[in-house]
Subunit: 227 residues, 2 copies
C-alpha cells in the first residue's frame, strides 16, 4: 500500500492599507528555493490536522484572539511535490491587522503581499500554491456574504465604518455607507454595542461594537450589484 507525506498549507489573509493581503514565506531550501510560497509544513506523527494548522500559524504570526481558521480543501495531484507523493490539507485563516510576521524555521523571510498581485499574475507561488490561494480568496469573499466573518479581520472593538472597510477591501468595490450601516445594525445578533465611542476618523464619533453571537447572516449581505 502506497504511503504518503501529509502537509498543511495556510492561506492567511488580513487587511492592510485597505487591501486584502496574504502571508507568504520565502523558501529557504529546495525545491523552489528562494521562491514565495504559502506557509505550511509536515503533519506530525500524532498530530491532528487542525492542530498542525494552528501550530504553523503560530510559527509565522504572533497569534492572538479573533483568529478564524477553517479547512479549505485538500490537494494531492501526483507530482505536485518533487520530494515525493504528498497530499496537502489547506486551511484558511483570517486575522486582524498585526505587526510584520516572523519567518519560521524553514523560511528565509515572511511578508504580506496584496492578493491582487497574485490575481493579476505579477507574483506567483511555488508548487500548486497559486491555485490554493485562489480557492482561499474565493472562499473568503463568498463567506462574507452569509457569515459574520468580516469581524475576524477586525480588532476586538470596531466601528461600522471599519467593518465596511473590510467588505470593501475583500470585495474590491465600494458599499453605500448608509445602507451598510442600516443592514448590519438591524441584523440582530451580528453586532453588540459596547457603549463606548471612537473618534479616530475625524468626524462625528462612532459607536464601537463587538462581534455578536450570530453565526449565519440571514438575509445575507450581497456583493453583487452594489454601488
Amino acid at each position: 500500500m502506497q504511503e504518503f507525506f501529509v502537509t498543511v498549507d495556510l492561506v492567511v489573509l488580513t487587511i492592510r492599507d485597505d487591501r486584502l493581503q496574504v502571508l507568504v514565506v520565502e523558501r529557504k531550501y529546495p525545491p523552489y528555493q528562494g521562491d514565495w510560497a504559502l506557509p505550511g509544513g509536515y503533519v506530525g506523527a500524532e498530530e491532528d490536522l487542525e492542530a498542525a494548522a494552528y501550530r504553523e500559524l503560530a510559527e509565522e504570526t504572533a497569534i492572538g484572539a479573533g483568529v478564524h481558521l477553517e479547512q479549505l480543501a485538500t490537494y494531492g495531484e501526483p507530482g505536485r511535490d518533487p520530494r515525493g507523493r504528498t497530499v496537502t490539507v489547506a486551511w484558511l485563516a483570517l486575522v486582524p491587522e498585526m505587526r510584520d510576521p516572523s519567518a519560521g524555521t524553514d523560511a528565509a523571510a515572511a511578508a504580506w503581499r496584496p492578493v491582487e498581485d497574485f490575481e493579476a499574475g505579477r507574483l506567483t507561488l511555488a508548487f500548486d500554491h497559486d491555485r490554493i490561494l485562489a480557492d482561499g480568496i474565493e472562499r473568503a469573499r463568498a463567506k462574507l456574504e452569509y457569515s459574520p466573518l468580516a469581524a475576524a479581520f477586525c480588532p476586538p472593538e470596531f466601528t461600522v465604518a471599519q467593518l465596511r472597510g473590510i467588505y470593501e477591501a475583500v470585495w474590491g468595490h465600494r458599499l453605500d455607507p448608509r445602507n451598510f450601516h442600516r443592514k448590519v445594525t438591524r441584523s440582530a445578533g451580528f453586532l453588540e454595542p459596547t457603549g463606548r465611542t471612537s473618534t479616530v476618523d475625524g468626524g462625528r464619533p462612532a459607536q464601537l461594537y463587538r462581534r455578536g453571537s450570530l453565526d449565519t447572516l440571514n438575509p445575507p449581505i450581497t456583493r453583487a450589484t452594489q454601488a
Copy 2:
C-alpha cells in the same frame, strides 16, 4: 518524517421513495467487520484524489451522466483508523435514482438507507463516518439553496414537480408548488425547456426541462420559512 495512508470516502446521496438516501456498504473484513460504512478505499500510488473518488464511485454504482462529485473535507484525527495513521479525503456525490447498487470487492453488501435513520441514531457507521455523513448531508442541503444542484438528482429530462420533490426530500418539508414553479422558471439559465411534455402524474401534462447552464442561483431559493 511520518508517513500516512490516504483514502477517499464517499457520501453518495440519491432520492428514493421521496426520501434522501445514502449509499452504505457492509464491511467484509476487520476492523468493523460486518458494520455499515461509507464506500471508499485507498488512493493509488499514481492516482489523483478525484480520480480515486470516481473509481470508488464506479465500483459501487453503475455510474452514468448527471453525477455531481465534489470534495467535502478531509479527516485525519490520530487513531481514527486502527490499521495506522490514515487521512481520508471525503467526497460528496449526488446521483439520480438508479437500480440497486453492487457491492465492491471489499464489501459484503451495498444498500441505500434513508439519511434520517442515521440522523435519528437508529443506524450508525464505522470509523468516524457518522460525522462525515452529517457533514455531507449539511453540504447538500446548503448547496440546494444557491446552486442548481438539485438537478443532479434528476434524470436528464424532468418536470418542475419532480425538481420540487428533490427539494422537499432533501430539506424535509413541503414547498408551495406555485411559488416554486414561478421561482425556478423565472430564474434565467436554471432550466431549459425541451418542448416535450410529460404526463406521468395523472393531471395536466407538465413541461419537461433540462438543466440550464447557470451555476449560481441569485437570488437563492431559501429553505428557511416556507410552508
